[in-house]
Subunit: 283 residues, 4 copies
């Protein structure tokens, strides 16, 4: 079954999360008769099944936990992974900016550990479709397991292969490109994306951004925006409220663009040139 | 019909966006036989219907435009409104952190111009449900029109009333609270939210955050996080790449929490106290 | 006489600042018998001379002002200028990082409107010395006037010329380089700087930073650091405390380095390579 | 003798810094006949004296180091301390905003480990004067040692005592207040500061900022500004240029104000109220 955030009480088959001291947390599916062994004692699944979510429970040694539905962010952070995962701050902004919602078809490359694949598959719902390319068999295998665990594998088509060799799909609604050399694949991206479709590329360095901008312009993309999302946490102490001492300062640069069908008319060329400059100034 | 981002070609009934010089843009539904009057000439709808999205078009005076499907962000920014709207940077992070996806039931107060209502209704899909409270009839009316325009009204139940008087709904999956005095309604929020459910409150000042933190703790919420999302744009010039000169520095503080069912056991009280401190340090 | 921030009462010869409604402010020297014409009436200098600084005064039409010693930041922002000036946030960090203080000798290129020249000349005091190169005669002239107005011209030697043609000075303590192509002058910078001396370059784009890094490494600079200073203001309302809505998001990137005298020994080469990587991670 | 950044070659009596692998660094005074024992071998002072600064040197076991004049930032970070020190990013902005330069008289409370005292004493030069109050004898003792080591003690008058009991000095040019409860001392600050003088307070939490704002307004301070300085480092790799992964997100909030002498005239009261609102918006 598909992981979801519905339901008020823990049932067999649900993914459950136990959170203990020092934010130690465990995520596992509830199975009748099962046991979960924490560092601080055993919790029997049958004691959890039927409880309201959010309930305080105890291991056999008396260690306290809260029983929760794991959030999407918790799940993504708990993935088995060999690579950098995407951060919720970036995922949220990518989904909203590209308007990813129920029923959409989205192409992704590369799959990696499948964290973005999961977020996309969750957002497009049962009527949507994710197609994801990956060149490394072991990564594809890992992503497949991660998707299965959440019941999202049926919404995803995982291709093993290099998008430089061509992409079978056409007219997808949106394309998310997370590879080290995105600038090498923009003609293929254009071919797979529908007219007017949404593009997002994620890269860590400014050098990659600059190359990607060149490639997007050469391949008739416009409405280009480059940005970073920064997340600043506060210590939630009402009498001593202040930002945390340290923060994640950088995960990657997001580059958004739209596939455009310009004609030969020079008036349109001027318009297109203008669309790629300064739109975001002062926003 | 429901606004969507599917489809490769403009059809009658679709919401279309024309983008011209200086990023001037217009959003309107395509109607057979219709005309759109821009500042720089008339565009006939029949000339647009049937074109691939992204196509360059011209007004009768020769002004160039691109024909696009409006993005969610474009639609939110184009809403008729009397109040501050939410920014996509905040919306995306709220949706991802609370795991808002297809099929969920979400309660909101207040409705305002309906920008968050729209984002929520879009994300939960046809199987989901948004309930939104608002005390000002004129705002509710405006939100209703804004939702209708996108075909999303049927997913939303708009209540006219003060949540301080009580909330009819119970066991909703998530609660988004966007009122000036959120700390006054936390008992009602708790009553409406399912066990373990997700809470998010948005306020502009640190004074409000501090009061909200007090109210959440008194009402048995835990896993409290306070944060801000900052978005930094770059001028997309590959040879002169640099951040824009100015940026939006503040929209609001986001406070997230989970409804928790602690028992009387003192071991659990210690756990709960700990959950509200420092979880985010260094993340 | 030299502008200073000593003294408790306004005297003839002092630079004075009048600040009125909407932060309108005027900076001028006090002259016996003088008059200052504001948009909202005349203020007679003789009515100001002898007053304690900070006193509330009125024009002949009754408009209220405060009489202040202009701060360094106020003076820099009030300079007659043809170019971008440096912001106090950057100036302060540059001075502290390079340890600019009384008695130092600092070389600057280019002079521009003289805002950094003024900040440097103020910081090094009467025993210090600033040498500043500029290729545009009209800019040098403007900088000269700006320095004169504050009585700081005698601490500065203004050269008209291109540092690419050579720099007469040697063994200066610190070098501040604010030109569009700093990477073209690093051999000359090295020649002018004393062994172990401090370098700082200011450029607006990441492309320039990358080229500057190459040039510094080729010319035996180490301890390289690249950073940005961001300043976030809050609305100073104690009951509604929050960040301002907008902020300056970018002025420039600062690149700091030290002139190093490496030998031929390969152990030293390894050390030097390491000094240029990652020193700042997590700081 | 006074630590300085003049001189091209290491001399006996100079403070020297050796920087080795992994940025391990040592700061010590050069003494004829002395030896410095690093983890990786011994360096003889006589081998360093007479060398140009920046020279690569080796310990008796062959470990490579660079010999440098320690920067102000290096010295501040190397102080023996029992308390939080100020960061160069904050120090630089405080000095520039208050216009601290040669010849000024500055009052500080509390002294702490003396890091700000050192920065102030360095900036005001031999003609300037720092007066610093501290209630804890052991901290005053530590600050005294730290100032002595740099030859700056003669520019500082260290008082042991509580400024709540009164401040002997009057008419100081600027006042830096770094105590947990600055709002309790604003009448005393006003008494010590000259008319129109500069105030800066540093506190870590927003609650303290709010209380400080109340106290400043009650005590006739105006031109109030609240801000934070954020420093973002980049990895200095020209082919893979990007921000560091993590950063210091918060040290403290800076609150600046000027002592004002308002009269009884209601026009001036309006002006004063206005000076404390919104000046910084959009700057």
């Amino acid at each position: 079954m598909i992981w979801n955030l519905h339901g008020t009480h823990a049932r067999a088959g649900d993914l459950a999360q136990l959170v203990g001291l020092r934010h130690k947390n465990f995520i596992f599916p509830l199975v009748e008769g099962g046991e979960y062994h924490t560092h601080r004692g055993i919790v029997r699944h049958d004691d959890l099944i039927g409880l309201p979510w959010g309930t305080q429970v105890f291991s056999h040694t008396g260690a306290a936990y809260f029983l929760l539905q794991p959030s999407l962010a918790d799940l993504l952070l708990s993935l088995k992974r060999n690579t950098q995962i995407l951060y919720p701050k970036d995922i949220g902004f990518i989904l909203t900016t590209m308007g990813i919602g129920p029923g959409m078809t989205v192409l992704e490359a590369g799959t990696g550990s499948g964290s973005m694949t999961i977020a996309l598959a969750y957002a497009v719902g049962a009527e949507g479709k994710i197609i994801s390319y990956e060149v490394r068999p072991e990564m594809q295998n890992l992503a497949s397991k991660n998707l299965s665990r959440l019941g999202l594998l049926e919404r995803a088509t995982l291709h093993l292969g290099d998008i430089g060799q061509g992409i079978a799909e056409t007219d997808v609604d949106a394309f998310f490109l997370d590879v080290p050399n995105p600038y090498d694949y923009i003609p293929q991206v254009r071919g797979a994306l529908k007219p007017g479709g949404f593009f997002c590329g994620l890269v860590p360095t400014v050098n990659q951004v600059a190359e990607l901008l060149h490639a997007l312009r050469r391949n008739k993309f416009a409405f280009i925006e480059v940005c970073e999302v920064l997340l600043r946490y506060y210590k939630p102490e009402p009498l001593r409220l202040r930002p945390t001492d340290r923060m994640v300062a950088h995960t990657g640069f997001l580059t958004f663009a739209r596939r455009i069908e310009p004609g030969e008319d020079p008036r349109g060329a001027a318009l297109m040139a203008e669309q790629n400059v300064d739109k975001t100034e002062g926003e």
